[in-house]
């Protein structure tokens, strides 16, 4: 590990210094460096992350999505086909206004696409999060840089409905082609079935 790297030259500080126009926020909660990025800057930043020897992120370990539709909101207590999945019973939902002060407004912030990078040569990790709105959940595809992005992005499209422009083959991965909707979204009830053969239950 690079011994000269202290807080002043941490990965997120370097990234912030290189791309001040794209980086919204950084933190290192529990020691895991995280950078929030604007979606316009994603491809450029990703290129730098891969090619720059300071970062040297040759592995895109994971690409997933978070749906904040029900975050901090009180919902009905029982899951059913009509209402979306609630917060677990032991969590007291509290609205969190500080969360929304990121240069994006509440209405425009529904999804976070999360990227986990790992560098095998420098052995460090970084997490990138790109907030997206509900109306236009579209983002650049990273398949030209890391082949692992291919199926991860297909999964994100399938389960969340996030569109990756530039993806060579953006179709459903886990659900079948005729499936309507995106199951991991918070407004898709967990037991709503759309069977191809057989009864609904």
């Amino acid at each position: 590990m690079d011994q000269t790297r202290g807080p002043a030259t941490s990965l997120r500080a370097r990234l912030h210094a290189s791309f001040p126009q794209h980086v919204l926020e950084t933190h290192a909660y529990r020691g895991q460096e995280t950078v929030l990025l604007k979606r316009e800057g994603l491809l450029e930043v990703a290129r730098v992350l891969k090619s720059d020897p300071v970062f040297a992120f040759d592995f895109l370990m994971d690409l997933t999505c978070v749906d904040y539709l029900t975050f901090g909101r009180v919902l009905s207590s029982r899951p059913s086909l009509a209402t979306p999945s609630p917060l677990p019973y032991y969590m007291t939902p509290k609205p969190d206004p500080e969360r929304w002060q990121r240069g994006v407004s509440d209405a425009a912030y529904r999804f976070d696409v999360v990227y986990h990078f790992f560098s095998s040569s420098r052995v460090h990790r970084l997490r990138l999060k790109v907030p997206l709105s509900a109306a236009d959940p579209a983002l650049d595809s990273l398949t030209e840089l890391w082949k692992s992005a291919d199926w991860f992005e297909r999964e994100a499209w399938d389960l969340f409905g996030v569109v990756f422009t530039g993806h060579p083959n953006l179709r459903r991965l886990l659900m079948y082609e005729g499936f309507q909707g995106h199951p991991l979204r918070k407004d898709y009830p967990f037991n709503k079935r759309q069977p191809l053969v057989g009864p609904v239950n």
Partner: protein, 298 residues
């Protein structure tokens, strides 16, 4: 469909590639995947892979309860080595909570993870041998796996879907005489591995079929984000237990076997050697197992 034809030669033959659908229900009976392969004789030219036939909605179900409720789902992610999945998930939640499991718990987790890893590799190598026709090796390896499953059952209560990990600890402590039973079982497993090694590693048929097939280069493996024995078979000596140690792996000595060519034979050798390294880890951890509580108080 691509076709090539030579003109005006009386003995010209027109060749076309054949498309073959393998699956989703296919004789390699572990896991379902559909491969639509384009064949040039026996050589696979291109493949279209269709997955999702075993999508069971784990992530959606995980939203419905407290953190410990996810552990049965974690078991069934990689059902050949369920304990590792248990502990991986528990470690992630513990990191988020900012807590660390007790030392005894970490040693127990290492022991159970490595036993699980051995059963995983036994199943994997056995099944791949079976698919090539070496059914005897499969039987021997499943026999060895049964001994390890008996150990796992003694600790967790279940052979396969264990649900043993908990956030902040494990379900229960190791039973009495576990160390002696484990050492005896590992001795027996070593004998079985020697037999299987003698049957496969220098076997002409096995070598012909596994060497030079299924080559994944280093760059391809890294680009596809492959980790584990697959990556090490392709020549990248990356093991997260050494690179980013968790639990007590930094205090235990073990080697990381790495392949050279990235073909099936190298991956087979990596797995066989990893089983030996896992057994080494289990024996070291049993020697150094400290006393104390297994669940933290928070």
């Amino acid at each position: 469909m691509p076709e090539s034809a030579t003109l005006s030669a009386p003995s010209a033959t027109e060749t076309r590639h054949m498309f073959l659908n393998i699956g989703p229900s296919h004789p390699a009976m572990h896991g379902i995947v559909q491969l639509i392969v384009e064949l040039d004789g026996e050589r696979v030219v291109k493949t279209d892979v269709e997955i999702g036939y075993l999508h069971r909605g784990f992530e959606k179900m995980s939203e419905l309860g407290p953190y410990n409720n996810v552990i049965p789902y974690a078991d069934r992610l990689n059902y050949v080595s369920p304990l590792i999945n248990n502990f991986g998930y528990c470690l992630a939640v513990e990191r988020l909570l900012g807590i660390e499991a007790t030392e005894r718990c970490q040693f127990i987790r290492v022991i159970m993870s490595e036993l699980s890893r051995i059963t995983d590799h036994l199943t994997c190598v056995g099944a791949s041998a079976m698919e090539l026709g070496a059914f005897t090796v499969f039987l021997y390896m499943i026999k060895a796996r049964e001994w390890l499953w008996e150990l796992v059952e003694a600790v967790t209560g279940a052979r396969l879907t264990v649900s043993y990990g908990r956030v902040g600890g494990v379900k229960a402590d190791l039973p009495g005489h576990f160390a002696a039973r484990t050492r005896k079982a590992l001795e027996d497993v070593r004998k079985v591995l020697l037999e299987c090694d003698a049957l496969l590693t220098r076997n002409r048929i096995f070598m012909d079929r596994m060497q030079g097939t299924g080559i994944i280069s280093k760059e391809q493996a890294i680009s596809y984000g492959i980790t584990g024995p697959f990556l090490r078979g392709s020549g990248v000596a990356l093991d997260v237990r050494k690179a980013n140690p968790y639990f007590v792996y930094d205090r235990l000595a073990f080697d990381v076997p790495t392949g050279e060519h990235g073909d099936n034979y190298d991956r087979y050798l990596v797995r066989m050697e990893e089983m030996e390294q896992s057994m080494r880890l289990v024996e070291q951890a049993l020697d150094r197992l400290p006393g104390g509580p297994i669940n933290i108080d928070f």
